[in-house]
Amino acid sequence: MRKFLGFALALTVVAAACGGAAPGASDSSSLAPAKDVAPAASITWWHAMSGVNGDALNKIVTGFNSSQSKIKVEAIFQGTYDDLLAKLNTAIASNAAPALVQVYDIGQRYMYDSQQVVPMQAFIDRDKFNTTDFEPAVINYYKYQDKLQSMPFNASTPMLYFNKDAFKEVGLDATKPPVTFTEITEAAKKLTKKDASGATIRFGFGPSIYGWLFEQLRATSGTLYADNGNGRDNRATKVVYNDAAGKAILDWWKAGVDGGYFYNPGIDNDGAANAFNAQKTAMYIESTARLRGHITTVAGKFEIGTGLYPRPDSKPKEGGNIIGGASLYIMKSRPPAEQQAAWEFVKYAMTPAVQGQWQSDTGYYPIVKAAYDTAPSKEWSTKYPQFLTAITAIRESPQNRMTNGAVLGVMPQARQRTQKMIESVLLGQATSQAALDAAVADMNKAIDTYNKANP
């Protein structure tokens, strides 16, 4: 709910603040040549990383500040992604935005429509910055009309987590975790355990009702979420998930819950994670970024295995996983000198050494492939071999509009709405087709309103 409120607030603000500004997509020709712009002495970077991840981020900043003497970056924590966005919009309205901001994946279209961003592609083109070694799945997510809008910073994908000990206990092969819907259902049936009174003490599978997971299931089904190439060829005008593939996802999920071998934690990601930690569920699906937290919390009570994300039995070859996380935007309202300084910092953050350290500190993917050859990254992969599953998953995902993922100005609301949709089906309040149609109708209205407000 907070997500939605924060975003609604932000939306109102931008609609009011920058109604008729200049066109958003400026090209490289509008940037002065690098040699003519001396970088500013200090810039501010707003981010949403707290705890361990916040420490890792500050490490990058300290590293950058001591690596050279011209630019000083100041990193400021601004609350959750939603808080940050709300604060950013207030700041934009009074010309107090920082030079560099971290915005979450689903804020992409919104940032573009705000017309407050210098596309990252402009700097890349101007300096002929080499991005060939960048992870394609990651970099493609942040492209609109094949131009990179922002620099991916922290990236993750979802995968299957399973309890290896439980697999062994019921005679399942822990080296071959289930992948297709039917395989997961079959494994979940075996893994479900009841006590003498008939109460279930362990469910086979227990995903949270999380809109992101539904988006990912659309992608592994090889289907679009929104029209116009998931909103990447042109701005999306409607969502399209009320088709046979959408119904198949919901029917599979519902049958598992009704059969008593899928656990339904509700709309509660932490609840689903805790149920897995507590061995109340033997499998679930979540972000790779949770891996380290799981391993720490479980503390050897059982062995955690990871597998590919679920997909339909036909294993559509055009299906794969979408990247999640956040990226860095350079703000247009700052003077060119500050933008230049921000760009210098972005380049530093994308060096393999920094990326390798970032991966081992946080559990996010390195954006640059060469980072995997650095010592911290190698050490990490030895310590957490389960992480390799995730790398394999995104490397094997074909790169197309389906796996690039949807971009919508109203993506946070869309995610909320699909959650309500899934919940209504699992609770038996609506049939899967009726729930899909209702959600699509609501979202199309919201998209229409958004598109009219942001011409």
Binding site: S50, T90, H294
Partner: protein, 271 residues
């Protein structure tokens, strides 16, 4: 007789356990290790209490500084609110002037304006006068309160008009009557305004987040948000932070309550 007293106490104990349960559970979780919290069914009491989480809170955020900031700001807001609200309420209840009713309703109507709608203008004002990252920026926008004024006006209206007449006859000035009679008689109401003002300022999240950028100027609620990691929620750590932030306010409430009750009984005896 005795049985009914026992029954009363039993009922009160059950009631207070229910009311205090979330807080007690937070306390209990703050003393557990992360893997203990994760066991199923969730334990209620820590098998092996540890202060690790508290240590980690200190290591993660400058909680002492945040507490200090919250106290300074909340206290300033309370002082400001008591001053402005009591003066305004006094005018609305005892002074007679043209347009008083209209002005009062205008005052009340500001309660209908959602706080969110004023964020941007407030932010721009504070920014223009250079109060970002300052105590005055955190406190001054909240020093006047329509709700507090309304509450105090209602309390002041309870004071018999005869006292006002008597005071005037004795030669008391308008201001003297406020200081010597109205304020002492309205202690419970003033206490309510003070506690309400303190807690709502102490619990603010978005405004402090918005206008502060330096770590040293941030407040407790922003601090707790920093204990929440984007990908894994560590309940023990968050609960330790919550306890550390909640205890001072609870202490204040207990102390304030005594004041409230004293004020109430004082009024009761006088009839």
């Amino acid at each position: 007789m005795k049985i009914s007293v026992l029954a009363n106490y039993a009922l009160l104990i059950v009631g207070s356990i229910i009311v205090a349960f979330p807080l007690l559970l937070a306390l209990s979780y703050s003393l557990m290790s992360e893997s203990e919290i994760a066991t199923f069914p969730p334990p209620v009491l820590p098998a092996d209490p540890t202060l690790d989480n508290y240590g980690k809170v200190f290591a993660t955020i400058p909680i002492g500084r945040y507490l200090l900031n919250s106290f300074v700001v909340s206290t300033a807001v309370v002082a400001g609110q008591l001053l402005t609200a009591s003066l305004a309420a006094y005018a609305f209840s005892f002074l007679v002037f043209r347009g008083r009713q209209l002005l009062f309703f205008l005052f009340l109507s500001t309660l209908m304006i959602p706080w969110e709608a004023t964020i941007i203008p407030n932010y721009m004002t504070i920014r223009t006068i250079g109060w970002l990252d300052t105590y005055q920026g955190l406190a001054v926008p909240f020093m006047a309160t329509a709700f507090g004024t309304f509450l105090l006006r209602q309390a002041f209206l309870q004071i018999p008009r005869e006292l006002w007449d008597a005071a005037r006859i004795d030669g008391a000035t308008t201001f003297r009557f406020l200081i010597s009679t109205v304020i002492p008689l309205s202690r419970p109401a003033l206490g309510t305004v003070a506690i309400y003002g303190f807690l709502s300022t102490y619990n603010q999240y978005f405004w402090p987040l918005l206008i502060t950028n330096q770590t040293l100027m941030r407040t407790t609620q922003v601090g707790i948000a920093q204990l929440r990691f984007e990908e894994t929620l560590r309940w023990g750590l968050v609960m330790a932070g919550v306890i550390m932030v909640a205890v001072p306010t609870l202490a204040l409430l207990v102390l304030g309550q005594r004041q409230l009750i004293r004020g109430l009984t004082a009024g009761a005896v006088k009839g």
